[in-house]
């Protein structure tokens, strides 16, 4: 269990404590988390749940939960706590029920609110929904701490249930999904465009950054200069950097009309991709240099003593040992790119940011949600996926090294 845990420059995440002592300590403390979860759930139940407006821009009226549903939400708020006290094995079920109930009640209430309204009327979720959702998710997190090993999957049992609710059309009255239905294929296109932008920029910057890092790591002064530059650029605002990176491109296209004809200008997909590639290059380059220089000299000496050639040392010793930190850099770059890509809509590159800007311009909250929530989920998903890849590769190469 002495696997080196990858620690990147930006993230100091906890390495999962595996000692049985700490596990028991966690289990004993879970009720605190469940109390913390019950507070927003209780408060959320009392707040308005639905905002009903005659159209998507007009002001509207707030609707609270009817007594029966209010009682249901109050019971569900306390259920995880009671479960943890009397039936700890089923805490996950109680917490999962709370999440599913939030979605179910939103669907029910928005549809009820729309009955007898005109076609343009919109029923959106109000403060109570968001607060209850937050509390329910915290409860799920707390319940997950009580589960061990494979059982941890049970903490995600609410996901298929919620997806089933969406699939069955139960939430069709919710304004965000109404908006999504109106946008339909266009939304899918923007999502694909977002993914394309992130994927292309990440691929390009990896292709450029990896050989560059190998080259720089071997040269003392270059490596120091690269790290200094990377640290300085990290303090710069990303939006400013995006602007600064676009400036040379548009200067070029102004100076040489031929380039402009070839599609290189200060606006569109090309400048966004260039700026994003350069932006993602930094963490990849920095972590690559740090990782390669962090390979213990003793390991390299031992390899040389065994008679390995320079190439063998590089592929069999340096790369496997450097990989975890390096992959952390690539993961950080990917997560940063998901965020930068949403700003890139400003220069006409498309992507989910299009909806955020559209929503901001027309003060339509639903459009903002339609762009911002998927972008946030995408970032979390990319982070989790690459983290999984890191663990898998670490295990694989850990054995070889």
């Amino acid at each position: 269990m002495s696997k080196p845990t990858p620690t990147g420059a930006g993230g100091n995440r906890p390495s999962a404590p595996l000692l049985s002592v700490t596990k028991n300590a966690v289990r004993g403390d879970v009720p605190q988390v469940l109390v913390l979860a019950a507070l927003p759930l209780l408060a959320g139940a009392a707040l308005p749940w639905v905002l009903l407006r005659p159209n998507r821009l007009a002001p509207g009226e707030y609707l609270r939960l009817p007594p029966a549903l209010l009682a249901l939400m109050l019971v569900l708020a306390l259920l995880p706590l009671l479960a943890a006290r009397f039936l700890p094995r089923l805490t996950w079920l109680a917490a999962g029920l709370a999440v599913v109930a939030v979605f179910w009640v939103v669907g029910l209430q928005t549809r009820c609110a729309l009955v007898g309204q005109a076609e343009f009327a919109r029923a959106s979720a109000a403060a109570g929904v968001w607060l209850s959702g937050l509390g329910a998710l915290i409860a799920v997190y707390g319940a997950g701490l009580l589960l061990v090993g494979r059982q941890k999957l049970l903490a995600w049992a609410w996901v298929p249930a919620v997806l089933a609710l969406v699939w069955a059309g139960h939430l069709s009255g919710w304004s965000v999904l109404v908006e999504a239905r109106n946008e339909g294929p266009r939304w899918v296109q923007e999502l694909a465009q977002h993914l394309r932008l992130v994927g292309t920029a990440l691929g390009l910057s990896t292709l450029i950054g990896v050989p560059l890092a190998v080259w720089a790591a071997g040269r003392e002064r270059v490596a120091v200069a690269v790290l200094g530059l990377a640290n300085a650029i990290q303090t710069l605002p990303s939006l400013a950097l995006l602007g600064l990176l676009i400036a040379p491109l548009s200067a070029l296209s102004n100076a040489f009309p031929a380039l402009r004809a070839a599609g290189i200008s200060g606006i569109g997909v090309a400048p966004a991709l260039t700026a994003m590639t350069l932006y993602a290059l930094l963490p990849i380059l920095r972590n690559g240099v740090v990782a390669l220089r962090g390979v213990p000299a003793g390991a390299v000496d031992a390899a040389r003593g065994m008679g390995m050639t320079g190439r063998q040392i590089f592929w069999r010793v340096q790369v496997p040992l450097a990989l975890p930190v390096w992959l952390t850099g690539i993961r950080q770059a990917a997560v940063l790119l998901v965020g930068v890509a949403s700003v890139a809509a400003l220069i006409g590159a498309g992507g989910l940011g299009t909806y955020i800007f559209k929503g901001l311009q027309s003060a339509a909250a639903d459009l903002i949600l339609l762009g911002a929530v998927p972008a946030a989920l995408l970032a979390i998903g990319v982070d989790a996926a690459l983290r999984g890849l890191e663990v898998w590769l670490g295990r694989r190469f850990g054995r070889v090294g």
């Binding site: 403390d29 707390g142 548009s250 946030a376």
Partner: protein, 247 residues
């Protein structure tokens, strides 16, 4: 104990922090009306008319937003980090660490935009976004700093008969201070960047020329905002570096 840990941090810094003089003076130089447009004119990137809110006011708005956010972040983040690192709160600490990790992952622009439906346009959603985003490094470094306090130091303090409160104020916080301050520095500098995005929500500040320039395809305007916000970030980083060396 306070003085010893602080002097250790001070002697650890070798070079004279020349950035403390360089970046703020460059920033002030660029804020003199007419200097930046004249510098950018030879690049021939676009037209720069007189700035309606003058640049120094945009800079002050920006600085004010960041300072206000940092104040709130300190007031919320430090007690939070202390609260979740008390013994018997392992689950709460893990929850805080997970939330902090999520805050690092979710794009800033998404956080800012999500605050708009709740708070309307202007500086309010931006401030909320800055606080949420600024809490991340402060809480994570606070937890890391407090967790890394040597147990033998705590045992010695207990042996001397210190109460829990005394241990916290006289042992734990002073020992965790360098790491905590490094978090405050990161949080402040990143928030200079996040606040530029706030211009898209109508918060004003130095993001305004950037956003306007990007949407009007006026690269000179973009450069004005980018240069000024970069200089502001570098200035704050250098000044805060006096108190908080990079860890």
């Amino acid at each position: 104990m306070t003085s010893s840990s602080l002097t250790a941090a001070r002697t650890g810094r070798r070079r004279w922090p020349w950035g403390v003089l360089l970046w703020p003076s460059l920033l002030l130089l660029c804020l003199i009306p007419g200097v930046l447009p004249r510098l950018l004119a030879p690049l021939n990137l676009g037209e720069l008319t007189a700035f309606d809110p003058p640049l120094w006011r945009l800079t002050l708005t920006h600085l004010g937003l960041v300072a206000l956010a940092t104040g709130v972040v300190l007031g919320l983040g430090v007690p939070l980090a202390v609260a979740v690192t008390r013994p018997g709160r392992v689950a709460l600490r893990q929850l805080a660490e997970t939330l902090v990790g999520l805050g690092q992952t979710v794009p800033t622009f998404a956080i800012l935009a999500l605050a708009v439906p709740a708070l309307g346009f202007g500086w309010k959603p931006t401030l909320l976004g800055l606080i949420v985003y600024g809490l991340v490094p402060v809480v994570s470094n606070g937890i890391a700093g407090l967790q890394s306090v040597d147990t033998s130091a705590l045992d010695a303090a207990r042996g001397m008969g210190m109460t829990g409160r005394q241990r916290l104020l006289r042992v734990e916080l002073p020992l965790a201070l360098p790491v905590l301050l490094a978090g405050v520095r990161t949080s402040t500098v990143y928030n200079v960047g996040t606040a530029t995005v706030g211009a898209a929500l109508g918060a004003g500040g130095l993001g305004e020329p950037i956003i306007n320039g990007l949407s009007q395809q006026n690269t000179a305007l973009v450069l004005v905002g980018a240069v000024l916000s970069a200089l502001l970030a570098l200035s704050l980083d250098a000044v805060l570096g006096l108190f908080a060396p990079r860890t």
